[in-house]
Structures are given as C-alpha cells and as structure tokens.
Symmetry: C2
Subunit: 188 residues, 2 copies
DNA sequence: GAAGTAACCTACTTCGAGTAAGGTGGACTC
DNA sequence: GAGTCCACCTTACTCGAAGTAGGTTACTTC
C-alpha cells in the first residue's frame, strides 16, 4: 500500500498524484486510504517515514564494525550512495520531505536530526578530545555534520545524472573532499 | 505582484496557498494572474526566478574584486548567508524549488548550474594547473562544487535556528571546513 | 462620435480532497 | 439456528480551489 503510494508520488509528484489513482492502483477504495492515513499528507508522511527508516537501517548496518572513523565514514557513504542508486523513488521522497510536508512534523525532524547526529558522533570519535570538546561547544561539530549531510545529498543528486560513476567512486570523492578539504586540490 | 505571491507562498506553503487569496491581496482579480503567469505553477516559477536572480546578483557582487580565491569564497559565502538571514521568504522558495515545480524546468536547472559553475570556477582559479586539469577531467571539480553548494545550503538551514550566529560566523565555519576538511579537526 | 482594443471583472466549469451513510459477511449471544 | 453486533469496505456525495468564457469599462484613433 505504502509502496504503491510511493511509486505514484514519485511518478506524478505530490500535487499531481491523486488519491483516487492511488486507491485504484492499490485495489481499494478511497475512504480506506483515509481510514489508515487520515489525509493525503498523512499518506505521504507514512511513505517518507518508511523510506527514511530504510535508509537509516542500511547506513547504520554499513557503519557498524568499522575499525576506524574514516573507514566508517567511507562505508556509510557507500551505503548511502548505493541506496540512492537502487531506490530512486524512496530517495526522491526523503529528499523533498521538507517542502512536501507543509506542517513541520516533529517526528520527521527528529529522524533527520538522528542522521546528522550519527555523523557528528562519527566525526567526534576520530577527533582528539580537546579539539572535539571545543568543536562541540562552539557548534562547529554540529555545523560540520550538517555540512557533510548537505554536501552528500547534493552529490547524490548530481551523481544521478552520471551513470558512469558507481556509488563507490562517488563515496570516494566525498571522503576525499571531506577529509582533506579544498586545500589538497589547491596548489598551496 | 510577484512579491505578494512570494509572501503568500512562504506563509501558507505552495499547496495551501490559493490563487484567490493572492489575487485579493494583490488587489486584482484571478484571471489577471492567469493572464500574466499562465498557471499557479507559472506564478511560482516567476517567484523562484526572481529570488534566484536576486541571490545570484548579491553573491556575484560580493565575490567581484576579491584578490584571492579563498577571499572570494569567504565573501561569497558571507553574502549567501546574509541573504538567507535577511530574505527568508525568498530563500524558502529557492530551497524548495525542485520539489515544488513538478515539471523540471530547464531554465531553473540552468540557473542552478550557473551557481555551481561559479563555485567550480572559483575553486579552479586557486588550484594549481595540473591538479585542476585532473580534477576537471575526472569530474572531481564538479563534484566538489556540488558538495560545497549542498553543504552550504544545509548549513544555512541549520543556522536559521541559531539566532546567536551571525552570517559571518557561519561563513567562517564553512570556509574552515571547506578549506581544511575534517583532517584539521581530527587529532591526526 | 464610432470603431477598435487593452485591461479587467463576474460568473461559471471541472476536478480532486475529504466525508456521510449505507451494505456485507463473519462472530458471538441466547 | 435466529438475531445482533461489529469490522471492513463501498457508493455517492460536498466543498473548495484551479482554471476559463464571455462581458464591461475606459481609453485611443480616425
């Protein structure tokens, strides 16, 4: 049911997707959708929730057991870019959640926060204690995590159009950028 | 007219905003809106176009005349974060354009591309020629630019909720992250 | 002053989100 | 075994908003 809805939303876009069509393709009548999901936005939320959970599961699994922070980062990113390649529909929903859902949902906000926190923790882990404490207090660590998430999302969108790049290559790009910064590609 | 529409879209969200309301607040009748903008989506597009142009103008002006690439980056980011602080409404539209506009507009896509290219050029400028050539051919330079844009957008969203941070501080965070990468906050 | 036209409005149609009220089949009571 | 209840599902509606048809005003041009 959620799967069908996800497909229709991805195909048509949120506004253009009609509950009638979803209901028909599910093989059920419209009031049923409203029974279960309360509203069109509710249905969308359910889809996003599902997609987000899946993404989270995949990345956490990938990260688990990595010996070093850098390795964890690499594995996590590989999983992330892989997910995007394999599950375009789900990714579309996750990517657009903020604008699709009119009323900001605390729940979704919280889930997103978890994602960022995971990154922040990873980064904190391979940072020396003193620096980490400073970074955390000043908000720099949070900022860095946000930056990483945003950068990777954009990178993912970009890589969608480059069929020649495998998720692993993209992940490698990201790790390099992240780790070394621009200084490394600068001559100085 | 576009300004009013922008306000309403920002207040209510795209779906919830009604053409009737916009028309009324503009002080004109609905068919007029359709005369000028063809459709609701057309009106939205016009708003986004306007906002994007403004953002571009501001950043390009800020970048112009910087002696070094790093300085240009800093100035550009300051302008960017400043814009977001001052013109929340416009920023909301730009930020959500992809999901709001169902039919991908080549024109908007092109504008976004220009933004990324500007960054890519900046980065190419302060990179030694050999590295730059490699980076460009492999797509790394493009990837880096996309990464920067995405990271900064996310950072901007994050900084909205931190009233204590001025745009300049956020810009400084971004420059540091960009330039030095994570290696610098790592102990190694 | 008549013809034409640009700018605008009122009053519709249409379509889709959301709902009310009713039907069907199985389980449970006596 | 008949009656009653209840979960589940449907048809058939309301209502609001996008988009449009056709008329009206006022101003220009000859």
């Amino acid at each position: 049911m959620i799967q069908v809805a996800e497909t229709v939303f991805a195909e048509r876009g949120y506004t253009a997707a009609s509950m009638d069509e979803i209901a028909e393709r599910v093989g059920v009548s419209k009031p049923m959708l409203y029974e279960y999901f309360h509203s069109k936005e509710g249905l969308l939320l359910a889809c996003i929730r599902e997609a987000r959970a899946e993404l989270r599961r995949v990345t956490e699994q990938a990260v688990a057991g990595s010996p070093t922070g850098e390795e964890a980062l690499r594995q996590g990113l590989r999983a992330f870019f892989g997910f995007i390649r394999d599950r375009k529909q789900s990714w579309l929903l996750v990517r657009h959640e903020a604008s699709l859902v009119g009323t900001a949902s605390e729940e979704l906000e919280a889930t997103r926060q978890q994602q960022t926190d995971l990154i922040a923790t990873l980064m904190g882990d391979f940072t020396d204690p003193e620096t980490a404490r400073f970074a955390e207090e000043s908000g720099l660590l949070q900022a860095a995590a946000e930056f990483v998430v945003g950068g990777c999302e954009r990178l993912a969108i970009w890589s969608e159009q480059r069929e020649d790049l495998t998720p692993d290559v993209v992940a490698e790009y990201a790790v390099n950028l992240l780790w070394g910064g621009l200084a490394q590609i600068s001559g100085r």
